[in-house]
Symmetry: C2
Subunit: 429 residues, 2 copies
Amino acid sequence: MAEKIQRLPGFRDFFPEDCAVRNYIFSKWRDVSAIYGFHEYDGPILEPTELYKKKSGDEILTQLFHFEDRGERSVAMRPELTPTLARMAVARQRDYKKPLRWYGIGQFFRYEKPQKGRTREFYQLNTDILGEKSKEADAEIISFAIDIMRSMGFTNNDFVIRLSDREVWLDFLNSESISEDSQESFLQTIDKLERQNPEKTQKDLQTLGTSLESVNNFINTNHEKSHFHNILDNLKARGLSDFVKIDLNVVRGLAYYTGTVFEVFDTKKNMRAVAGGGRYDKLCSVISDGATDIPACGFAMGDVVISDLIKSTKAANSKLLNHLAVNDCADVYLVIADENKRTEAIKTLQELRNSGFKTVHSLAQVKVAKQFSSAENLKARTAIIIGREFPEVTVKDLFNKTEQVVNIDDISKTVETIIKSPLDPPLFS
Amino acid sequence: MAEKIQRLPGFRDFFPEDCAVRNYIFSKWRDVSAIYGFHEYDGPILEPTELYKKKSGDEILTQLFHFEDRGERSVAMRPELTPTLARMAVARQRDYKKPLRWYGIGQFFRYEKPQKGRTREFYQLNTDILGEKSKEADAEIISFAIDIMRSMGFTNNDFVIRLSDREVWLDFLNSESISEDSQESFLQTIDKLERQNPEKTQKDLQTLGTSLESVNNFINTNHEKSHFHNILDNLKARGLSDFVKIDLNVVRGLAYYTGTVFEVFDTKKNMRAVAGGGRYDKLCSVISDGATDIPACGFAMGDVVISDLIKSTKAANSKLLNHLAVNDCADVYLVIADENKRTEAIKTLQELRNSGFKTVHSLAQVKVAKQFSSAENLKARTAIIIGREFPEVTVKDLFNKTEQVVNIDDISKTVETIIKSPLDPPLFS
């Protein structure tokens, strides 16, 4: 026998129960984006490889699914959305009033070693403000990040925004007389500060002309007044200051950031970044070879880490389960107790669906007990039993275990009343 | 200067106004799927190339974006969802009660010559019932297809379901004593009947041992009683018979169909199939090398043709525009008329968002007139003017051109009343 065909390593199947969780995360991403007045956009999943090389250099190739297409173009499955955003914004920036407030939800691909929290494909929310250089835009993006977390049921016990600014580090480089050429490797070293052993860091810093002691002293200086007061005052006015702390350890790995950088940090046992963002004022210029300059800041959150965090955080998980319970059940299971009434049942089925009720019936002729077991399996809220007595039908509230006999003409009203009635006992208390 | 990076041929950018149309189509697909009790699933965008070869033979390769990944696996960007569905259903069929009622919305990729109505990527709704062999399942899928069209504002003036059955053609082959080996090429010839010139068809049919005359006579025979009464009676009970006509010209191009086949046919000037489906009882067995047999029927609709059809059909297009008008506008634009009150404005912004209102403000300090022009640009329903008189603020209904002064504590109630008030004049009459 031939070998069974299996899905590729690092790729996920979304069976209905997995897809429902994915869609819950998407719904929160979309709801908060809408409330902030962001508009959804999307770009192609396949782009010229050049687009990514332009942003990140040739090293990016080792992480890409890239190949030559049948037309001999070098193409890559997108590893991120920002280069596409820059390409699109540059192409049609004159057609839109600034600032652009855009968000995208899509799938991305990176050829990496699959491990916990890291897959070869993932979904990501990307939210960006283009064409606005003020710190208010940075504050708006950070506030957005906080509200995404809050919408999922996380509190300031669960996460903190670690806020930093690359310009603060540039001041440091100036004060230490370190040349601008070393800027990138210096920031890479800072990025690794918390993970790398101190001797290695000390060595790296000394090569660059400074020391671990100077760096640590600088991190522990109070920078709030000078660099961060705009953002902090803004977040305070929103009532969100409790969610933010200044932390210069954060520089974010990606080279393209130019100012404010931040990450959403899981403060519980995992102690990891679950999302991040910042200001990248030069990317549009890089992508357009200097033709178009658009200041920008943005935020991205993947689905893999956040979905782990939801499942391991009690309040967030309850919120998820509650959503699934309400959204994934059928409103009505139509039980056909007398096959002679199948035509009437099918007519009722269509009428209930026309009224917007999620309605299912058995496609095969099976015993009533089996139909009830299907109703239970689908977590149907009500069962309507169509039998000999039609047009009188029995309506069962399958959660509250009550039943009533009604005329078929009153069926929509009856079902609506049951669906809207509070559950007893409640699904979650 | 380096060449400008452009998107690949046959791929689409979805700027916000395009993405809104895409999302409208998705919302209809999702709403009707939910009402029918289907559950959403999804699979990877990249699969082993073998999966598609197994279903469609090696010829499929010329239409695929396929390549060797860094782990030397032969992989392909998915051209369709059904092979993935079969792989998933086979892998975990014991975990779900039959029938599975699953739908997927995703993007697919085919290396074809881009032209009107055909791109190299497209979105598709796939809706399938697995594990039920009765004709009721076929009727359920056809009814679903009709309701997808109805949900978009199409009537039986706009489209018809052309219903056919491959088994009817197998009866014909039997009656003409044509061997089973010729079945596939015979069905391919029937598939081309309406597009190919009759002489060529006649030649093809004669090679197979029959004639155009026999075929045409057979098509014009009344087959309703014998083969189609189950489906037609079912659709009649649903009140949907007006949407269906028997038409044996339809066999659907794909080799894997085994019984009922149908297409949603645009009856207006374009005279083309906009979607289609049918029964494919052998696919799971093929994918699992005979290990697992699951009867199945399904339906698929792409986004490209349907979106053209919506835009060219008056009622459907009004429905789309109405949806966009309601969904894509901001609820509130917060006008800051006095910069000294920015903190109060930011606080109000957050409170409105906490209450679920889509609220936007100017991130930069700009003149009031410019803020109103932004409000108009965002099609904001109301403007709240925060000025010297705070906590008294002016609330403008930007559609009805009325205004009132209220205390900031009453702001949510005031905005809610305006948003819910009927528009005068109505957006669409």
